[in-house]
Symmetry: C2
Subunit: 393 residues, 2 copies
């Protein structure tokens, strides 16, 4: 007969979820109230404001979708893409492929622009595709590829979309809170994210924001969206005008308490400070991993500080090492996905997980294990390299 | 600048969410671990077993959808209904209408069978519709209408569906854990529920279960489901064989801790005991509400013990009374929906909210307010009537 589940206390340095701070878990566990309670509705208004802050936008159509990031992605596509549309989709990792799936399931045609995994999206190829497909209505790309750790140039890509009269659909699941996301500055039209990466909230909610241009597109639609649950026309009856909220679905009340608290923490720290913290610990981790003989798959200019993909040293067994990290150090790092499976580890420094003690814990654990396999690499050389970086910045 | 949100401590006697016990909130706030962590995967297996217990099924395809009940509903429709299909949909409240929306957004035709709000679904009308539409592939109905408090005869309706070679799609959002739900006994094919009603878990997750017949239908599909997020072929890569779980989307880890704990509580109490508890407090509440001059909109045989819809006494202002209950008693009851808006209150006795102290709190509060408007009704007459019932059973 099952017993209460008591999870181990892990240190989460994979591709997400990241460590959730006690303050957010405490908020999460506050008493559940009704989704139409006036006190809850007041909190929802604050939450929208906090999301606008995090996204750097004034978009009125900004809200947390009541489901994980994949549902945020789907919200963008099913509300903006009509059957028969042509959509330029870039792919340089797993999540571009998921975008393509979304386009095709909307009955639209995806023009796939591929770049090597680990490379940023190439704006020249995108421009060529936009020129070759004047009928395209949207450009979809991933700002921060969680499967590789590569950043792409969102500013340039959004500008290309606008110049070609396309809506831009941008995945910021792994970027929001970790590096600059500037929705209004980019002129992005539909942007979705996740809670369990650099916001260090529990997984399960997807913040989204839509430009006025995108909102007008939605209001001009002459057919219903293919999903009732994610239809923004309906969802906004609940999340829109706070004076007359009407029931759509029951909001995930406690998860939204947690998101409110996680965003408060971000606001208290400040966006720029959060980005700088991610960069600082990334530099220390980088020095340490390189001292342990590991190399990055992403060029320095395009590396995400919050997701470090490094090649697994020769002679080490991917799964065996990750199991040891989990069992001996309570440390989770991420495996490679797709063509990178077995080739790389993905070491996350996301949100609350992005701390000096975590950097040193990870370098110590990897140092011990690597040293056992190759004595020419000192067990503490990773930590020393990181400490040097910390001392110098 | 926003501050941490400190919700009031309400007593939730509306149509859900219900009161969440401290044990579930404590489970919810346990440390987040990875969605592919071996410890988490072991918990998932237990969770599937607990859901099978609650649904009374051996269906292998039983899992919690990572989003609210509306997404559970959508999971059933988009995986079982193909464009061009004909689906018999019954409507005797809000949620039948939502089912119809789902059918139509799948590109299928809904044959709507209507019954008055507050009445159960009439099996004769359903049988007539099945006879008139031999091309129908599914019958969809709501077991427990949250908008009215009426139960329908799931056993008979599922048998009708099977006899006409239709899949049955059954909404048990409000019934699961409060009255008998017997998925295998009914021979139901696709059943969805919610966590925030009689399971007294936080809102945001939707348990679903599919018969082998439904699972075969899914595996025989020659086209992709219109939703990537809710495509069971993909979801089962994560929730299926526990030996080789593959990433689909990031599971809502903490919400699943909470659901595991809520189901443990149900298992400890026992299904029959839980149903009897709901019936007992319903009888006491009924006596009290009637003593205060309120009448039910549903006939006794079809009343849901967990959702009591009563006519608002003449001379009382719906919204004003609910606001007083909230402000003076921290008590939430539900408003009417659709044609019943302003006509009825919906008083929930769901899961952990279904307790003697809540029954008495509610009757005391309503008694005070009703007595102010009509001195012929004693302020304590509701409580006295309920106490008499408790003394007699």
């Amino acid at each position: 007969m099952p017993q209460s589940f008591l999870p181990p206390q892990r240190t989460l340095m994979g591709p997400g979820p990241s460590d959730v701070p006690e303050r957010v878990l405490t908020a999460l566990a506050r008493p559940t109230i009704g989704h139409l309670d006036p006190d809850f509705i007041a909190m929802m208004d604050e939450l929208k404001g906090l999301l606008q802050f995090a996204f750097q936008t004034r978009n009125a159509l900004t809200l947390p979708v009541s489901a994980p990031g994949s549902a945020g992605m789907e919200t963008c596509f099913i509300n903006l893409i009509d059957p028969g549309d042509t959509v330029i989709v870039t792919q340089n990792g797993v999540f571009g492929g998921r975008m393509r799936e979304n386009v095709e399931r909307c009955g639209a045609q995806a023009i796939l622009i591929e770049d090597e995994w680990g490379q940023p999206v190439d704006p020249h190829k995108v421009e060529d595709a936009l020129n070759a497909h004047p009928e395209a209505t949207a450009l979809a790309f991933v700002h921060a590829e969680t499967s590789t750790g590569a950043r792409s140039d969102a500013q340039t890509l959004c500008a290309l979309a606008t110049r070609h009269d396309c809506l831009s659909i941008v995945d910021t699941v792994t970027s929001l809170g970790g590096i600059e996301v500037d929705v209004d500055g980019w002129g992005a039209d539909a942007v979705y994210s996740g809670t369990q990466k650099c916001l260090s909230c529990i997984p399960g909610i997807s913040p989204v924001t839509f430009s006025n241009r995108a909102a007008e597109h939605i209001s001009r639609r002459d057919h219903k969206a293919q999903s009732w649950f994610l239809d923004l026309d309906l969802v906004m009856g609940y999340w829109g005008d706070s004076e007359k909220r009407t029931y759509h679905h029951t909001a995930p009340v406690n998860a939204l308490y947690a998101l409110h608290e996680a965003l408060l923490i971000l606001q208290e720290e400040g966006l720029e400070n959060a980005w700088q913290r991610h960069a600082r610990h990334h530099h220390a981790l980088t020095a340490g991993l390189e001292a342990l003989g590991m190399s990055f798959i992403v060029a320095p200019d395009w590396r995400l500080p919050q997701l470090n993909s490094v090649r697994i040293p020769a002679g080490l067994d991917d799964a065996a090492v990750r199991t040891r990290l989990l069992n001996e150090y309570n440390l989770e790092i991420g495996a490679g996905l797709g063509p990178l499976a077995g080739q790389v580890w993905r070491i996350g420094l996301m949100g609350y997980s992005c701390r000096q003690d975590n950097v040193l814990l990870c370098l110590n654990a990897l140092g011990q294990i690597i040293n056992e396999a190759d004595v020419t690499i000192g067990a503490s050389s990773g930590i020393q390299a990181a400490e040097n970086v910390y001392a110098s910045i």
